[in-house]
Amino acid sequence: MSMLRSSLRNLFQRPVTTAYPNVQADLPQSNRGRVMWEMSKCIYCRRCERVCPTNAISTNKEAKSQTIVRNRCITCNACVEVCPTQTISMVADYSKPDLAPTVHIFSANLPDYNFRVEHLPRGSGSRRPDEVTND
């Protein structure tokens, strides 16, 4: 009987789920979605690279760039906390799904928070660019 009551109630309710790819996901503002760099503040101290538990970040001082493998990032917030110049921040939304592992490159040549997208070869898992061999 008790289930019948809730079944009837559910019958006249609107669906709880959303049609996700067509409708934007309703993420809370405090969601840790992905890491972003404001490159004009970056001093290339490599602290984020060292603290990253999954080695997703690699800093290139010569090219003035920060590279992040999105598939590796576990959004733990460790790089945001360790940054001495508050260069790194987290935004709520996730990066778009892709067919190959996505690498985002933030560099000083680009405007703040903008990045260049590159793809690792398909099937290279979530290895870092320097770990992928070209065979």
Binding site: S2, S6, N31, T75
Partner: protein, 358 residues
């Protein structure tokens, strides 16, 4: 005399979320013997965890997806034991709130899974709908849905502001009637009760002999709850362990259901304890020495032992997970039951193979 038929259940079976294998001995439809075969999910985590104690706090969460916060809380408590520091009260209270939120999500998953195993998909979806409220709440508090990454050695990372405290209270007020409805279904629905009563009985002596912990032990009349030891903020709140005597699948399900409702009480009590103050304290130097800590995870007692040798690398981390103790007890529950009840009995101990195999 006829020889019993031997059939394997698993490692891949529609009723199990994770790989485990049970070798069943059957006489007609009756189970006469069961042998558990584990190790399909072994990842060698205890070795990987010992590589860098600062990164370990993120990796320990990956031991298990459903009790991730309890793992990181237990690890941080162990490291705080080594450093010999007392974390701020506010950090302890927020840790407790997060642990109780995770208990609700974990138990609702177990309850939904139990319903699904019986073919009650409707109830399964209802459990998961209610669970989503709690999942969304932890997402708003910590920033992540599954692996919260909120505990650090010396406190917690992210504080709750006044608005979030009010929001948590509102969500708990919203969740309580929904869970009470759900409890009504689990307690009184004819199909469920007939399917679960007197099935897979684990007597009090058996529960003691098989060293069961958590809801499995409490459903067999062993009043064993590590929260009574008073880690985190549990010594400041009024805890009443849920204990039943029947020891069957029904008792185990009802213990989980009642614990969900009790968790709401505990979270509401914790919210009253939140005072102004710091949530994190600085920890200096590399750890040296040994530490031990116990936490009541959703499935029972979770034990961490860490030996540190004064560098980034730790000498050894030993994790004893609750599922490691609970899962073998199905060998005592299965003999005497029917073949059709085997998935239900196995699921009723809430087997987490990720935890068991590490």
């Amino acid at each position: 005399m006829k020889r019993p038929t031997t059939i394997p259940i698993g490692p891949q079976h529609p009723a199990f979320l994770e790989p485990l294998n049970i070798g069943l001995e059957l006489e007609e439809e009756r189970v006469v013997g069961a042998t558990l075969n584990l190790g399909y999910n072994h990842r060698g985590m205890e070795y990987a965890l010992a590589l860098d104690y600062k990164k370990t706090q993120y990796l320990v969460e990956r031991v298990c997806g459903i009790c991730s916060n309890h793992h990181s809380a237990a690890y941080c408590q162990t490291m705080e034991d080594i450093y010999d520091i007392e974390v701020p009260v506010r950090a302890k209270v927020i840790r407790t709130i997060m642990m109780e939120c995770q208990r609700i999500t974990s138990h609702l998953l177990a309850l939904g899974h139990t319903a699904e195993t019986m073919g009650y998909e409707n109830l399964f979806m209802q459990c998961f709908r209610e669970r989503e409220l709690a999942m969304r709440l932890v997402n708003e508090i910590s920033g992540n849905r599954v692996h919260y990454s909120i505990n650090v050695i010396g406190g917690i990372k992210r504080d709750m502001d006044a608005g979030m405290e009010r929001h948590t209270a509102n969500v708990m007020r919203e969740l309580r009637p929904l869970l009470e409805d759900l409890r009504d279904v689990f307690a009184r629905d004819n199909t469920l009760v007939k399917r679960m009563k007197d099935v897979g009985v684990l007597t009090n002596e058996q529960a003691r002999d098989w060293c069961t912990v958590g809801p499995v032990a409490r459903a067999s009349g062993l009043p064993q709850d590590i929260r009574e030891d008073g880690f985190a903020a549990y010594d400041m709140i009024d805890l009443k362990p849920v204990v039943r005597d029947e020891g069957d699948c029904y008792a185990r399900t009802m213990v989980r259901m009642d614990e969900c409702l009790h968790s709401i009480d505990l979270i509401e009590e914790c919210l009253k304890l939140l005072d102004e103050g710091p949530v994190i304290m600085t920890v200096k130097g590399h750890p040296t020495g040994e530490g031990l800590s116990r936490v009541e995870a959703p499935r029972g007692e979770l034990l961490y032992h860490v030996k540190a040798i004064g560098g980034l690398q730790l000498d050894r981390i030993k994790i004893r997970t609750p599922a490691f103790l609970n899962v073998p007890s199905v060998q005592a529950m299965l003999p005497g039951s029917r073949l059709a009840d085997v998935p239900l009995i196995t699921v009723s101990v809430d087997p987490c193979i990720c935890c068991t195999d590490r």
